[in-house]
C-alpha cells in the first residue's frame, strides 16, 4: 500500500483528494435531509474562514483576533449593495438609487471592501508587536459592532436585516450547497497555491524570525500587509457569501463566538497547513451546529443550566488540555509511531 502511494505524484494525490471530497459531498447531498445539507453548505463557507485565518496566523505568524471584522465587512457590503434602499433618509441617500447588482459581483465587492480594510488595518497595526497587536485586533470587532448599532437605520442594528429570498445564492438548499462547495474549493485552491509559492515562503520566513527576514532583505512590512490583504479578502468573500446563503445579515458575523470557532478550527486542524483548518473547520462547525443538537435535549429536560454552547466549550477545554499542541499534531504523531 505504502509503496503504491509512494509512487503516486504529490500533485496527483492532491487532485485525487479533491475528487474524493467532491464525490462524498455529492453523495451526501443526495441522501441527507434538507436541514443537514443547509448546515453542510455553511460549513464549507466556514472552512474558508478557517483557512484564511491560517494565512495570517499560521503562515505570517501574527495572532489576529479580529478576523471577524473582515467577515462582517464583506457581509454588510454585499447586503447594502443588494438593499440600497436602506440608505434612504441618510447622508448616503444618493446611493439608494443604485441599480440591481448581480449576486456574484456583489460578493466580489464584499471581498474587495474587506481587502481594503485589511490593508488599512495591516498598515495601522504595523508598529504593534506581539500581544499589543493581538489585543488591538481583539478590540476592533467591537468597534464595528457599535457602528452597526449606532447607524441602525442603515445597518439594521443588533438584529440586522434581510436581503430577501430572491437574492440568495440559489433558490434551493441544494443549489446553495453546491455553490458554497464550489466557492470553498476555488478559494482553498487559490490560497494553497499562494502559500506554496515564493510568496508563501517569504511569509514563513517572516513568521519564523523577523530579524532574520529583514537581514535577508525581505521587506517584512510589505509581506505582513500582503498577508492581511489576502486573508481579509477571502474572509470578506465568505462573509458576503454567507449573507446570500442565509438571506440575512447581522452583527453576529462580527462577534466573538465566531472568532473562537475559527481559532478552534485552525488550531485543532493544525496551524500552518492548509488541510488542517479544512478538517478542523469541518469538525468544529458540524459539531457546533449539528451533532450536539440531539445530545442537548436530554440535558435541558433535566433542568440543568446547560445548552449546546456550553457542551461545546467544555469539549473544547478538554481537547485543549489533552492536546495542547493541536489535535492534528497529536494524531499525526500517534499515527507515525504506529
Amino acid at each position: 500500500m505504502n509503496k503504491c502511494l509512494k509512487s503516486i505524484n504529490f500533485k496527483d494525490k492532491r487532485i485525487l483528494g479533491i475528487l474524493v471530497i467532491l464525490f462524498i459531498s455529492i453523495i451526501v447531498s443526495r441522501f441527507a435531509p434538507d436541514a443537514f445539507v443547509y448546515i453542510l453548505g455553511l460549513t464549507y463557507l466556514f472552512i474558508i474562514l478557517a483557512v484564511s485565518w491560517d494565512i495570517i496566523v499560521g503562515y505570517a505568524g501574527q495572532i489576529n483576533l479580529g478576523h471577524t471584522v473582515f467577515v462582517g465587512i464583506g457581509a454588510y457590503t454585499t447586503a447594502l449593495l443588494q438593499v440600497p434602499s436602506r440608505f434612504q433618509g441618510t447622508f448616503f441617500e444618493f446611493l439608494s438609487e443604485m441599480p440591481q447588482i448581480p449576486i456574484f459581483a456583489s460578493i466580489l465587492f464584499g471581498g474587495i471592501a474587506a481587502g481594503i480594510v485589511g490593508f488599512l488595518i495591516g498598515v495601522i497595526t504595523l508598529r504593534l508587536r506581539g500581544w499589543y497587536f493581538a489585543l488591538v485586533t481583539a478590540i476592533l470587532p467591537f468597534i464595528f459592532i457599535e457602528t452597526t448599532i449606532i447607524e441602525s437605520e442603515i445597518f439594521g442594528g443588533e438584529e440586522g436585516f434581510s436581503i430577501g429570498l430572491e437574492r440568495a445564492l440559489a433558490p434551493t438548499s441544494l443549489g446553495k450547497y453546491y455553490i458554497a462547495l464550489a466557492l470553498m474549493l476555488v478559494s482553498v485552491v487559490i490560497m494553497f497555491t499562494i502559500v506554496n509559492s515564493r510568496v508563501g515562503l517569504k511569509f514563513k520566513t517572516v513568521r519564523e524570525d523577523l530579524n532574520l527576514a529583514e537581514a535577508v532583505g525581505i521587506n517584512t512590512v510589505n509581506y505582513k500587509v500582503l498577508a492581511f490583504i489576502i486573508s481579509s479578502f477571502f474572509a470578506g468573500i465568505t462573509g458576503a457569501a454567507i449573507v446570500h446563503y442565509r438571506s440575512t445579515v447581522s452583527p453576529g458575523l462580527y462577534d466573538i463566538p465566531l472568532m473562537l470557532l475559527i481559532i478552534l478550527a485552525a488550531v485543532i486542524g493544525g496551524l500552518g497547513t492548509i488541510l488542517g483548518p479544512i478538517i478542523g473547520g469541518l469538525i468544529v462547525y458540524l459539531t457546533r451546529y449539528w451533532w450536539l443538537k440531539g445530545a442537548i435535549s436530554a440535558f435541558t429536560v433535566a433542568g440543568l443550566p446547560i445548552n449546546d454552547d456550553i457542551i461545546l466549550y467544555i469539549i473544547l477545554i478538554a481537547l485543549a488540555i489533552l492536546a495542547p499542541e493541536g489535535l492534528w499534531v497529536k494524531v499525526r504523531r500517534f499515527v507515525s509511531e504506529t
Binding site: L5, G17, I21, E158, F161, S162, S250, N307
Partner: protein, 441 residues
Amino acid sequence: MKILSKRKISRREYLKYAAAGVVVAAGAIGGYAAWQSTRKPLEKEEIIIGVLAPMATRQGSVQRDAAALAIEEINATGGILGVPIKMVVGDDKLDPDAAVSELRRLVTVENADVLTGGYSSGIMAATMEPMAELKTVFLADASSPAHPAKVAEDYEKYKYWFRITQNNGASFAFDMADMIDMLRGKGVPVDKIYIIRDEHVWADDVEKFFNPLLTERNVEVVKNVKIPRGYTEYEPLIIEAHDLGSQVILPIVALSGTGDVLAKHWATLKLPVLLAGHDLAALDLGFWEKTEGACNYYIFIADGGVVQTAPPTSVCTNFIENYTKKYGHPPEAHQGYGAYDAVYLYKMAVEEAAKAGAADPLDSDTIVKYLEKLATLESPVELTRNIAFYPPGDENKWDHDLAWGDKYVRNWISEWIDGKWYQIWPEDKANAELKLPPWFK
C-alpha cells in the same frame, strides 16, 4: 533516511484525505439516521405544533410552557379532530443563524404543521424568509411594523404570518398618548416630557406615530436620548430631565435590559419627575424584588393585553390559574398568553376548515383562509384576550396584525403600587387608582 521520510509524508497525506472523507461520511450517515428516526409517514397520527423562541429567556420559555399546557388540555379532550397534538421545540438563541436553521429543522425534520413563537423583531424578520419558503403558518410575537408590511407587500409569499401575541409596536404610541391624557385628567400637568429610548429601529417606528400625537396635545419633548443595550448611566439623565423642566420621564425601552437600574436611580434621586412610559423590564412579576421596591409608582403600558392581576376574560383567569397550578407560578411573561391563544386559535381554524369540508384542513393555505375568517374585527375570538387580525389590504399595512383597541388587545396602562402590579386605566377595566409618588408635588 530519505525513503523513510517520504513514506511518512505519503501516509500523512493519505490520512488527511481519508479523515476528511470519513468525517463527511459520518456526518451524512448520522444525519440520515436522525432523519429516518424522526420522519413519520404522512397519514396523520399526530398534529405537530412547533414552538420557536429564545428558550434561555423567560419570554421564550413561557411560550413553550404555555403551549404545553394548551396542548395538554386539548389532548385531554381528544385532540384536534380526534388526533393528538405533539409539541416540538426550537431555540432561536436570539441569533438569526440559529433561528433560521431551527425553523428549517422544525418544519423539515420534525414535520411541524404550524409554528408559534418569536420575541425579537430582527429574528422574526429573518425567520419570515424560511417560513415563506417552506409555507408554514406562523402565529407570532415581536412588535415590528416591518413584519405586517411584508405581508402587505407580497401577500402570496408572506401570508402565513399572523401576529397574535402583542400589538404592533407603533400602537404603543396610542397607548402612551392615552396615558398622558389620563395623567392630565387626574390633575397632573404634562407639557414637557423627557424621552429615553432604545437605539433600535423599533423605537423609531413608535416615534413616527407618537410625535404627531404629542403635537396635538401640545406636549414638548425637551430631549430625546437614545441608549444602547446595557446602558446604565441614568442618574445624569434623570437630573437633566428635571433641570429642563419636564414633569415626566418617558422611557420607550425594551432592549436596554437595564430598566431596574433606571428605577433604582429614579427612586434614589427622588426628584419631582414621574417615570411613565414603556419599559419591558417593568413588565416582569419579579420586578419589585429585583429593584427592592424602587419601582414603586412606576407607570407603564403593559404589552400583550393582560395585566396579570386583572385578567380581561374568563379564559384568561382560568389559564393563569391552571398555569400556576402546573408550574408553581403565574406566567412569567405576556408571551405566554400569545402562545396559549395560538394553539387554541389553530385548533379552531382546523375545526372550521374541516366543518366546511376542506380537503386537507391542515394545509397551510387553507389555515390562512380560516384564520382570516375566524378572527375578524367585527367578531373577535375570545381566548385569554380578544383576538382579531387586520384583513389583507389594511390601510396602515398592518395586514394580519393583532387588532388594537379596548375591544381587542391593547397595552393597558398599569402601575407598580406597594409591591403589586395593577391596571389603572381604562377605568372600567382598572383594579386600582393612579397613585403618585409622595415626593412628586
